[in-house]
Symmetry: C2
């Protein structure tokens, strides 16, 4: 049996992801007109550079340089690491060259850069984009010393880092799908023991037990994962599970739940109703149908080449057309090694989302679709599904829910 855990990813699967991601590099480097990408790190368990997940795939201790140099459309890949880490890199089989050092990295790094003499040296820093900003300032200063004669060639690697993270490989999509399935398994298991009169905190604790026993991690901090919202008066997304708030006959329960397994995340919202289907208030029926239809409309519109805000607008306009206030956030975000994975989002053109909703949808990106509405008398209704972008549209990662789950 393969062990499931937040962090454990079988080495063969990890290597497969790295090879898949490396295959994207020639095209990405060509489009971004960067002929050298240099990742420079040390002690990555304390100061990680999240870009390493996609092209290096392990931790290092001593100062290490991972260099991708393009000459004539071919990317040459070089790892310069402390001797203690060298075998790990060699065994991956993803590097054209692994150079181990004992005393210091300076000589090997200088020699390689001189040998290839790139026109630019792209480093992982960015003023705007946090997920491309993994290089620490101390390590930048170290690099300025080592490569002092090249420092006027330093540029931001943001275009490379954004794209390599955002476009999920086949194996990554498989892992995200698996995380979604495992999330639904836990949702089903908890469904069987839900009842009226349960505290929100008590329900969250049951979810935590199921996550713990399976060795999974959480897509976001467990104190708010899953979010648990019982009854008509709860304001979703802002209030933690309460000791003093209970599930009530004739009212709803909502969760927002994401697990992390093998390093990849899920993020799904589900809803329960305490009562029979024919006892569901009309307001809740209409609200749920509106949310489900908004999800379907968005999913049908998604395709590569559109901008993120176009998807948000369709769902938002539909919800307003049904007599509800618009939701106060974006319709969806990307998911990957983090629940909020950055890059293009399905969001309105509000200042707080910056450039993200204007970015273009690409094949292989994984998004949530999560509209919600507020009813007059029965509280909020919210659902969240996940999709992967295909060449012609998108596919749901797990079967989308078609209604409340009825507990009676």
């Amino acid at each position: 049996m393969i062990e499931m855990s937040e962090s454990y990813l079988p080495i063969q699967l990890k290597a497969k992801i790295l090879r898949e991601k490396h295959k994207l590099l020639p095209n990405i480097m060509k489009l971004s007109r960067i002929d050298c990408w240099l990742i420079f790190v040390r002690e990555t368990s304390t100061t990680p550079d999240s870009a390493m997940n996609f092209v290096v795939g392990s931790e290092v201790v001593a100062q290490s340089a991972f260099i991708f140099i393009m000459k004539k459309d071919i990317v040459r890949k070089i790892a310069i690491v402390g001797n203690f880490d060298a075998d790990t890199e060699r065994n991956k089989g993803i590097w054209d060259e692994v150079i181990g050092y004992d005393l210091g990295i300076n000589a090997s790094l200088q020699a390689k850069i001189k040998e290839f003499n790139p026109s630019k040296i792209a480093l992982n820093y960015s003023l705007d984009d946090y997920s491309s900003d993994g290089l620490t300032h101390g390590m930048f200063l170290v690099l300025e010393e080592i490569l002092s004669e090249f420092k006027d060639r330093f540029v931001s690697a943001q275009p490379i880092v954004n794209t390599i993270r955002s476009i999920k490989s086949e194996t990554e999509i498989g892992l995200i799908k698996q995380a979604c399935q495992l999330t639904e398994e836990i949702n089903e298991k908890i469904t069987a023991i839900l009842d009226v009169g349960q505290r929100e905190t008590e329900i969250q604790a049951k979810f935590h037990e199921e996550v713990n026993v399976r060795g999974f991690g959480f897509s976001w901090p467990r104190v708010q994962n899953p979010a648990i919202d019982a009854g008509k008066d709860k304001d979703y997304g802002h209030v933690l599970p309460q000791e003093t708030n209970f599930t009530v006959e004739g009212q709803t329960l909502h969760n927002d739940f994401g697990i992390k397994c093998h390093g990849y995340c899920s993020d799904l919202q589900r809803m329960w109703f305490f009562g029979k289907k024919n006892e569901l208030p009309d307001e809740l029926r209409h609200a749920m149908d509106t949310v489900l239809e908004a999800i379907q409309l968005a999913a049908k519109k998604i395709k590569p080449g559109l901008q993120g805000y176009e998807i948000d607008k369709l769902a938002r306009d539909y919800i307003i057309s049904q007599g509800y206030e618009e939701y106060k956030h974006g319709l969806g975000h990307q998911v990957g090694i983090m629940a909020h994975d950055g890059g293009c989002m399905f969001g309105p053109l509000w200042p707080r989302y910056g450039n993200a909703p204007k970015q273009v949808i690409e094949v292989g990106q994984v998004f949530t679709i999560e509209p919600n509405v507020k009813t007059k008398n029965h509280g909020m209704v919210s659902m969240e599904e996940m999709v992967v972008v295909t060449p012609t549209g998108c596919e749901f990662l797990v079967e989308p829910r078609k209604d409340f789950i009825y507990i009676h």
Copy 2:
């Protein structure tokens, strides 16, 4: 029941640690002659600054500044955060002032620095010390723009960050002690099911089950945690648990195991012998006695004001005096939110340890003591205990082991 997990720390306990750490600041800032420490971060779940664990204690999303300014021996503490994060900071009760912003941080940050006009502005970057290097280069550039008229006052905050991390507060020591106790609980539980003919991988899987079911995390990556070494031919510390290596009658089993609970780590080594005490080979008896005595000698010598290498030398010399080769690593390292927590170490004055063994031992630091020896015919013997430095010496965090655990 308080939930146990890697990351969950009850909010009151977290707040207590923050208050304890803040109390250290006036003295630390005075000794390091720094009148302003500025932590500048964003989206800390992707690009964390580990120093935040000790003085902020939560994640932030938008650009945030945490400022500690000393005037006349009093430290004033100010948090400038996005409005979405402002209530979290206010509720902690650790800030003299919390400023929330909607549009951007620039105006508030500039105003506060102008108001106090510090002579230095210490930032979390360091060329030498990775654990003081949490500021990303992109954020440094952002800060240079915002505080352009103060940028010649920027200095490294390394002296502050090192000390605030290294000196454990009462609550932190309690949590590390708890992690040690829980580790021993699992060791005891596994002892009951150990037998000859078990694979190393199988034994590791049993430890993983026990960790998972309790919701703990691992002090270092689980693939090598616990290290499991069966029999006389295993080279500790370099080879993962093997499918093809079994526990054997008349031979030893060794583990190196650390869990993380409530954010704090343990790191302990234990040994088992498959046979009765009177069947133990003389070589193993002598090796174990030597290791145990080396630990006791080191523990008796430890006191504030000594340098780390003095402790290592005592244990190392003793082991050589007993006819063994010296161990090929340091005698001990600090433990805290990481298994290797940086700062002063008990190590020899070898180039690879840099300045760490020369640093001075201080009250409140937590160290491992982990000597090992190699016998001629029966493999290695290694044990690891953890101690906290007191004003007059040190105390063990759990009762030190006095022998192998005998399985028969």
